[in-house]
Symmetry: C2
Subunit: 214 residues, 2 copies
């Protein structure tokens, strides 16, 4: 978590890079509106109002409501790729890096659950061009995790009969944290991240080969 | 799958029990509308129109839009409890029953993904009374799976340091199938169900104790 990140409702937001300030405030307002009411029930007027701006001021930054969703989705997916790529390229063996990928991805989905829900559940609301761009980013997300698992299989540390299906299951487990996690629950994002890292190491058979010391 | 179940868009629907026919058609129309546009962007007029009925005809069966969502959510959750309870009470040891619970729950979420998405993503749109009822059903869903895992721990077949967290992870993995599964994908619901049963047995350590022959 960098100090440049905004927070809204106690959640970490990946919008620190968005400038100017008005453009960032509008993105935050759009995330909140889409999460509460859904994309189709939200108007650009609603979003401008939440940001304390006029509809005319919104149009300076975003031409359409879809452009806001596209921007939110792109930033969310780029951040996902960044988190997983950082873990994949870290020091250590495949088990250590898979554990780090899972725990950091889980922490991000728990901490930024409102954004994550919008990003995941409103994909069908994107137009064809935006959808194609996001699909490319989703393939990169998948490839980062698959790469670690493939390496673990090569080195003999993992035992994974179905690498593609297991990769999808691992990512699915992490993403769904955004659906059920609440700040009032009995665990912190860090605790869920640690549990899920252990569960995923079991899924890939990393704890059975005897080669992993953790 | 019983012959009494309706299908829409190739998906199994748990609405066979809903009578009369007009009430069932309205529920199906509501599921489709909520899935496409979201609860808040859907009007009772939209739903009636999709079902080929007038708004007045809709009000004979459902007083409000929320009543439709409540009914959909209740039926969906009752079916979930039924699927898991059936698996939990079947013959065999905990590993066999957990595998059956996971594979049947996955098949249902893949086959009925549109309904499952509405049920899972529109929970916040329910009023307090409906929400309380659904929360009770969700506790039953959790309890069925937790019961199997606890039994496996007691018998020594499973090795699970965190039963509550693992139960939630198992259910989460199954539920999220509704988000990513598409009929154009590379696997059938049955294939995903079989893979996930294996992954979950790994998560609970059932394949490491040497007591399970599968």
């Amino acid at each position: 978590m960098s100090a440049a990140q905004d927070t809204a409702g106690g959640e970490a937001q990946p919008w620190g890079e968005v400038t100017p300030d008005a453009a960032r405030r509008l993105l935050l307002a759009a995330v909140e509106a889409f999460a509460e009411r859904g994309y189709h029930a939200t108007t650009t007027r609603d979003i401008a109002g939440r940001a304390g701006m006029s509809p005319a001021a919104l149009y300076i930054h975003y031409k359409t409501k879809e452009e806001l969703l596209h921007r939110i989705s792109r930033i969310g997916h780029e951040k996902a790729v960044d988190i997983l790529r950082t873990a994949a390229r870290a020091e250590g063996g495949p088990a250590e890096r898979l554990a780090e990928a899972v725990s950091s991805f889980v922490r991000w989905h728990a901490g930024g659950r409102t954004t994550a829900r919008v990003v995941q559940y409103e994909l069908d609301s994107l137009g064809p061009d935006a959808r194609a761009e996001i699909t490319t980013l989703r393939r990169q997300v998948d490839a980062e995790v698959r790469g670690i698992i493939e390496e673990g299989v090569r080195t003999g540390e993992f035992d994974v009969p179905d690498v593609r299906g297991t990769t999808r299951a691992v990512l699915s487990l992490c993403v769904d944290v955004a659906r059920w996690f609440t700040i009032d629950g009995d665990r912190t994002p860090e605790e869920v991240g640690a549990l899920y890292a252990d569960l995923v190491l079991r899924m890939v058979g990393a704890d059975r080969t005897g080669t992993v010391q953790r």
